[in-house]
Symmetry: C2
Subunit: 421 residues, 2 copies
Amino acid sequence: MQDLRQAALEIAQTALAAVDPAECVRRALREIDLGKPARIFVVGAGKASALMAQALEEALGDRIGAGWINTKHGHCMELRRIVCHETGHPVPDAAGVHGARRIAQQAREASENDLVICLISGGASALMPLPVDGITLEDKRAATDLLLASGAPIEELNCVRKHLSAIKGGRLARLAAPARVISLILSDVVGDDIGVIGSGPTVPDATTFAEARDILRRRHIWDRVPAAVRQVLSSREEELPVLQNVQNVIVGSNRLALDAARNCAQSLGFQTLLLSSAIEGEAREVARVHAAILKEVRETGNPIAPPACILSGGETTVTLRGSGKGGRNQEFCLAAARAIEGLEHVLVLSFGTDGTDGPTDAAGAFADGTTVKRAGAKGFDVTRSLDENDAYPLFRTLGDLLITGPTGTNVMDICLLLADH
Amino acid sequence: MQDLRQAALEIAQTALAAVDPAECVRRALREIDLGKPARIFVVGAGKASALMAQALEEALGDRIGAGWINTKHGHCMELRRIVCHETGHPVPDAAGVHGARRIAQQAREASENDLVICLISGGASALMPLPVDGITLEDKRAATDLLLASGAPIEELNCVRKHLSAIKGGRLARLAAPARVISLILSDVVGDDIGVIGSGPTVPDATTFAEARDILRRRHIWDRVPAAVRQVLSSREEELPVLQNVQNVIVGSNRLALDAARNCAQSLGFQTLLLSSAIEGEAREVARVHAAILKEVRETGNPIAPPACILSGGETTVTLRGSGKGGRNQEFCLAAARAIEGLEHVLVLSFGTDGTDGPTDAAGAFADGTTVKRAGAKGFDVTRSLDENDAYPLFRTLGDLLITGPTGTNVMDICLLLADH
């Protein structure tokens, strides 16, 4: 167990290092030809945008003419040429709108021989809100709330929201045209859809105003959204030809972290299997499937034989039933612990790459075949803790939390299943 | 798609053939040395016991002295030397007790130089009920119901039930001693625990009367179970030394079916990966994990590259939300269909090996990247059908049900994920 835990820690650290925002930017700059632009502007938003901007300043120095990024309160860093501006998250605020306006202005300023580097990471959508002329942040939020209440799926929400934004769905790139735009994107969404990450400010939106209107009508909320929203959606037309000035590059993602983790596991002598970087679903149920695979590894050497490291990534969800303390990764590990009770020479580690699992100070937790028994000896009933969504006190008491502190990055979660002989 | 479906059908048929009860018995007889017993008695119970008995009669002919098996109503077959007796399932009945008594008598009759072959398959526990002297079937059921209502897990239920049975938990083998006992077991439980399949009539039970009493006391129902139950649990002592006369052989299981399916898939040119034969969990959530893996296959060639066949087995559950018609495999496929919408060159097949998925005439269903769209064209909303647990009408309309009819076997469910270039 102790050896497996050491191995898991090393693999996890390697994964995190591979998606460190600064490292992602440095790696991208080695691979992308920036050309010889007259001026370089830097814009963008996201929880990792300050770290990305810092790496960009280190690499490009005085070649950067000016820049403006929005990031979350408490996330700013000292930058030399780029303005770091703190804005509201997850609820957009006036500071966000102010910053987004400056970003739009920066993009507009760029001309044909200039380069605009756009830095996008998780949270960009809320951190960089810019309603189109004629509607307010409140109008936009009212429309969004009505859509949510009507049961609209995320695709419909995005379609409507993008058509109420002056910056999303490729509109930021259009403002920058004819300047060249390179967007460096740290993906925090399952499937790495660049149109979804930060609502795709540099990614042409394939949906139309007519579709946005249809959605509101079909959901019977057309008459209930603010008049200004109806006005905007009715009076405008598509202005988004194919954006030929744009290069969108995913510089960090869950898959990239998993690849690095796999390489590390191989170097430690494990056979490896990368299950998927697109895992979704209820944490405790997803955990049972993972546990079933781990059992099979031990019992029959399928899908791979020990020493084995099976990797997966994505983001699970937790349906709250109780009032305990925990996070989706800790809940995953608790459910896994119950399913692998008594199984020897195995270890499960699940953690959020941002270092924060739910409202706790832990990134995730470790579970093994002894977790249930050890928890019992400390007075914990794993089933009851699971019923109460109360994984944190249990794992804290066992010393089985993974605590990394905030990592500055976010490419969702990673799960490692280790099995030895 | 059509090719993948043909392949899936062939793989599924191969899997089913490998766990056909008669084939399982024939295969076991080729591998087990029966010795030269003076007489051979055949006993047992289960939904597949008649088919197993028939194969045994074909192989052993007049070497069988006598026999008695209990099976479900409608499942009897014409046998020459073995009595085929129909009893209640899933609720045990008086016919079951009558048959179990005859089975116990048969076992008792066997002496040192005789061989007792015991045939166990799914349903055996309910089909062969024999309360110990002093308590009735009703007493036993009352105790079971109280335990269930108290939230007792299956391990505690089994412990109490085995101590109220004259036949379970190894007690049938003890009746047969000193005769040799060979138990041929068709496993219908996750993990293939022979003590759990049919409540293990030939498998020594490690739990004790003291534990059974403790369970009832801890659950605060000791004073509420029938007095006869208290009497039995208080007055008896363990009488189960290690059963040296017994050989328990799993002749068919989900894992065995998966192995056969994998061999078939390989012969068809697929790369294969056996995920696990112990899959459990909420069907729709388990499906999302499988879908995520299938997506990864198509996008990055992980965990294996196309042409790929990923296999898993086990038994999921469905938490009923709506009032529609379906089964766990159909619900699995519906959830998978939603998650793989638009994905090309893939196919999902999930089916119950008994040929019956929920209260439907289908064994399971096929899903692919076009399911959602094709269903929409026929007026079905996949999300609504899922909310209503109403997969059957949708798949029936699409012609995407797998209909095998009752197969006579049951080794839980099998899921195939196919991906081509």
